[in-house]
Amino acid sequence: MLMHIKEEMINKLCKLLLEIGALLMSSGANSSRIRITITRIANSYGYNAELLITHRALMLTLFDEEKDYFFSRLKRTSPHGANFKMVSGISRMSWKIVEEKWDLNQIQQELERLKSLPHYSRLTTLLMVGLAGASFCRLFGGSYIDMLIAFSATVAGLFIRQEAVKKAFNPYLAIFFAALSSSVIAGATVKLQLGTHPDFAFATSVLYLIPGIPLINSLSDLLDGNLMNGIVRGMNGLIIALSIAAGLLCAILMYNI
């Protein structure tokens, strides 16, 4: 009977740990953070954890050295979309689990709470990312009119990307659509020679799409020695860069600039 309860508990712990790992992976954490977090939680319950991390799946083995008992499970991770609220929440939770000896139900509740946390409203996101695009344009040396062009191109492109993601297009295709619409808007001003440096607005209108998280995580995984993950993430970043370039190229061919 006791063995049965223990089995159920290790089963549940394994499921929760994999869910935490999958959430971290899809929220944009690097591999060593996933490994450290999962090992920390497993150790606080007195188990050792071994983890295989790949881009689209996680494999976890929990074992108890005294009883020679082990448990393995595999989980697919969902497609990636950065969500640092989740990463931050899980990191705080992992310390609370160690310090306050949480039970498994508490972890489950906290995960549900973290998943239900709201994102920034769509309007806020569009406006702030548009402002970031305008800032880039200013930093490149554009005037206020160029900033306005970069702002509107960024807002329109991000809107198109959100819609494409909502309609479940392939993520790279969604980035291509966004890059195309941004550069078509900014390219029109280059063609018509509006503003003082429309070429700056054209170059900065797609900067909000740059694969910053995949590329930085790629290099930090490579530095950690997780070569496989580093290469896979880097390749993902390069394909995103390729989609952006394809969108830009289409606009350049359309306007012949």
């Binding site: 950065a82 609220k85 702030m128 900067l207 860069a241 190229l249």
Partner: protein, 169 residues
């Protein structure tokens, strides 16, 4: 140096970092810290560039500053350091170099007239190499505090400034 232009750039650098922070859905309490860190990191990069360092050295200096600030910020706002560090260095990510390299590669597949071929190949290779090395500098800079102190978590690190006590007073 024109100080007004320099400080104006700070503001734009800060907004660029905050824009990405919102895109990555960071916790609200960290936003103004990210604004400051983005501005300071970008300023360190601009300062290095104006002192004659290249874009790679400049990005390294900026990322190093952001990396060390992110440890303090992590203790201060109770979030992992990379939640601050990544949005703050994203404006320095060589996205423009990366997609220019891709544009170059796409153009190289077309029929290029031999006179401009060398120029195009040269641009493509330069942009690609710059993108790679700037990225390398950024990630080494951001993870430098972890690498130097040989800790796995920022929580085990003592922050010399005692920011927490200052806040409590």
């Amino acid at each position: 140096m024109d100080w007004f232009a320099f400080f104006e750039k700070w503001i734009w650098l800060g907004f660029a970092a905050v824009g990405f922070a919102i895109l990555f859905n960071v916790p609200k309490r960290t936003l103004w810290v990210i604004f400051l860190m983005g501005a300071l990191g970008g300023a360190a990069k601009l300062l290095t560039l104006s002192l004659g360092g290249g874009i790679i050295l400049g990005s390294f200096a900026g990322a190093l500053l952001v990396g060390f600030l992110s440890i303090g910020a992590a203790h201060f706002k109770h979030s992992p350091p990379f939640v601050f560090a990544i949005p703050a260095v994203i404006p320095m990510v060589p996205g423009a170099f990366a997609y220019r390299m891709m544009l170059g590669i796409i153009r190289l597949t077309e029929q290029v007239d031999p006179n401009s071929f060398n120029q195009l190949l040269d641009d493509t290779v330069t942009n690609g190499l710059k993108a790679f090395f700037v990225l390398m500098a950024l990630s080494v800079g951001v993870s430098a505090p972890m690498l130097l102190t040989r800790r796995e978590s920022a929580k085990e690190m003592k922050v010399p400034l005692k920011i927490n006590e200052l806040i409590k007073k």
